[in-house]
Amino acid sequence: MDTPNKPLTQKDFVSDQEVRWCPGCGDYAILAAIQHTLPKLGVTREKTVFVSGIGCSSRFPYYMSTYGFHTIHGRAPAIATGVKLANPELDVWMVTGDGDGLSIGGNHFLHVLRRNVDLQILMFNNRIYGLTKGQYSPTSLVGLKTPSTPLGSLDMPINPCLLALGANGRFVARGIDTSTSTLGDLFVAAHGHRGSSFIEILQNCPVFNDGAWDNVTMRDIASENQLWVEHGKPLLFGKDKRKGLRLAPGGSHVEVVTLGEGGVTEADVAVHDQTNRTLAFLLAQLALPDFPMAFGVLYCDPVPSYDSAVTAQNATAVEKSGAGDIDRLLRGGHTWRVE
């Protein structure tokens, strides 16, 4: 990345377009967090590209004074892949929602992660379709009443982080829209990871699904219901960090323990290892009411990114065969002359 002449500030990443999200939408906080974080990453505006699909979240690129491409429903991963393969020097961020990324774009979501294209993928999860006025989404809970499910939704919801891990995603994290400073930390970590970095961001839709995450995000219960993980640190949560997660004998599941009860000490609490895929699966599926929901970088275990592998393969081909010569190509194989 080129170093900009003058250090950029949050303002430099604000575009001249009026932001048109509903008042109180969680997207505002996420936008502010990105605009606040980018200057710290030493990036330039011209090498930064935001690619999005369709939905409220996908209006995001218009509000960034970087390059931006608002594309079609669900297909942002494919377009972002093309951008990154065409020019691996670009820093590509992809913005999607639970509907865009998991419903119509579920297929592409799976493949961009398993290929490990070097992108930061931000999924705003509000468990509802906002732009089409409130139908249930792939992450909506069973029983949700919406215009298309007047008697309650019957579909089992998707857990985006579990899906990302299942698709072989090498960086999987979870954050909260209004928790701006932690969100900024996640953006920094995602940006530092070469490969697909997936962040699920719990986001509130005040119009169609207000309070969908209240049981996790409300300030008074946050400490009990949020487990913030950090590599190398014990998995502690709760008021005064008195609770922890212990790997059950055999390591097949986790259980909540309270320090000081039944002889439990901090040594009994599992330590977060972000390179441990099994642990990541265990953390990603923790759900209320029996467990806190896990936040932070659940998994980060880099392997070479797809775009770097493609670039390397192209370079090897040139090394092996020389820069191709069109005349030689056309004259290869059987040819003959007519005199």
């Binding site: 575009s15 377009q17 330039t44 505006r45 011209e46 090498k47 590209v49 690619v51 690129p61 218009y62 960034m64 004074s65 970087t66 390059y67 931006g68 491409f69 608002h70 594309t71 079609i72 297909r75 991963p77 494919a78 377009i79 972002a80 892949t81 093309g82 951008v83 990154k84 393969l85 065409a86 020019n87 020097e89 670009l90 297929n107 592409h108 799976l110 493949h111 493609v310 393969q313 192209n314 081909a317 040139v318 092996k320 065969s321 020389g322 820069a323 191709g324 010569d325 069109i326 005349d327 190509l329 056309l330 004259r331 194989g333 059987h334 040819t335 003959w336 002359r337 007519v338 005199e339």
Partner: protein, 630 residues
Amino acid sequence: MDTPVRSKDADGREILDSVVIRFAGDSGDGMQLAGMQFTQTTAVAGNDLATFPDFPAEIRAPAGTTFGVSGFQIHFASHDVLTPGDEPDVLVAMNPAALKVNLRDVPSGGLIILNTGAFTPQNLKKAGYEKNPLEDGTLDPYRKLEIDVSKLVVAAVEPFGLGTKEALRAKNVWTLGLLYWLFGRDRTPTIEWLKKKFAKRPDIAEANIAALNAGHVYGETAELPTGVAAYKIPKADLPRGHYRNITGNEALAWGLATAGRLAELPVFYGSYPITPASSVLHSLAGLKHYGVTTFQAEDEIAAICSAIGASYAGIIGATATSGPGMALKGEAMGLAIMTELPLVIFDVQRAGPSTGMPTKTEQSDLFQAVWGRNGDAPLVVLAPATPGECFYMAIEAVRLAIKYMTPVIVLSDGYIANGAEPWAIPSFADLPKIPVAFRTDPAGFHPYVRDPETLARNWAKPGTPGLEHRIGGIEKNFASGHISYDPENHQKMTKTRADKVLGVAKDLPLQKVEIGNERGKMVVVGWGSTYGSIHQAVRRARKDGLDVSHVHVRHLWPLPSNLADLLGGFERVLVPELNNGQLVRLLRAEYLIPADPMDKISGMPFRVAELEQEIRVKLAAPLVRNNRLS
């Protein structure tokens, strides 16, 4: 053979002008391989030629059944060859099923080469024969060469210690050897090819060479039945030059790689496998050292979207597919039209709606290409007429896509994709460069600032300082490119997008008459792969003094600027198409002319004879207009 036997040459071979051979056998019998080898050696021998591979969609249908029959037809001559031929002069039938499927196409007196070893009671039953056609008089109208190839090939390869099953695999090569003798072909290219192909199994290579030689020796030494001789087809009088055989799909791939070099830009090719387009991907995947990145996407939509992403990032984005895949790509084409990005789309058409008939040819995606998107969504549509033209059309598509910042569709089809023809190889230095000008100046920059001549917006690629901007599928303001729902602006933008594409006509060559007068009683208007059949039919009709001309449209949208005037000079316009009347409706709609349709929707190309017949019938009929399509 379409012209009578003229004479014999010094070594006793009968001299022929033109021969059509059809190889037919089980899908596993190696008929395509035999056909391709015969094609190569025929090209080297200096004949002009055209080929038509015709194979089933099943990878391996049950052996011996009629639906597992694979065919390869080659037409070669001492004059110019425009089609693979209406009917085979020589049919090679490797088993009863191949005979059953193909016999109806062989004219009386045609030569049939039969592998009698495959005419077992079991195979006869599988093919649906109640009696053995070799014994019941079915073949009386034909000349026959009945040979137990199975037995002879096993004997020929015996020294190599192969099992019977493996030995029998060389049946096609043995038969090829015999045909090489019959038509005076050099075996060397095939021997070299076998050595290379089986470099890791020299025993197999040697066995095949032995089989090839044994077939040849059989021709030399066996007492051939009356009416069967050795033949010679003199060299064709082709223009001077350096030639090779080329198939349409190869030509598309090479054209795209060449266009990248002419534009001095890398090429990105995103694709999803589909018959009959897949081999474009296979060819390009081998050209990474030419600055080509290939990406096998998870589906058709991802394929085109990745190409759009690449174009947005400032290189040449391209994709290829066939009918059903085109349908899936439609929405993304709309995005490329709305964001005014260059994009190249090859549609190698196949027969029918939905899955249709994947291995059979048709021209029924014309409407889909020209109109098949939501909203008023214009783009450029080109159609090559021959395999060799695919090369130039791929280059033309890239040139127009960049110059006008628009998607361009190249409509090929299964017939051109797999068919081969001798092709005069161009020199890279003779091909015109493709100019590319990226916007770099921030002064007065808006993403939708247009060139006043072409109406193309400027191409500002990410990475350029000062040009940061946002684009997307939502309607945008004419100047700034910002989202706009203003009613007048939408009208203006819709008209501008249409005018931009229509303006491409100024950049196209004027429509020429391929053969015949520029005014007259009848013009036959074709497009795409029907070129050869139409041309030959018009040529024959004109030889008989009929007033008929041939016009072949290679630019389907926009149409050439003089086409309306040109067609207006004829009393009748006949439009033969391998679909249910698409170009004919386009011409009627655009020009309000009473054009007549001629459709063929069988998955097979036109025969010259059926076109010639229709020309005669239409010319003889009184001029009555009811203005309805049949």
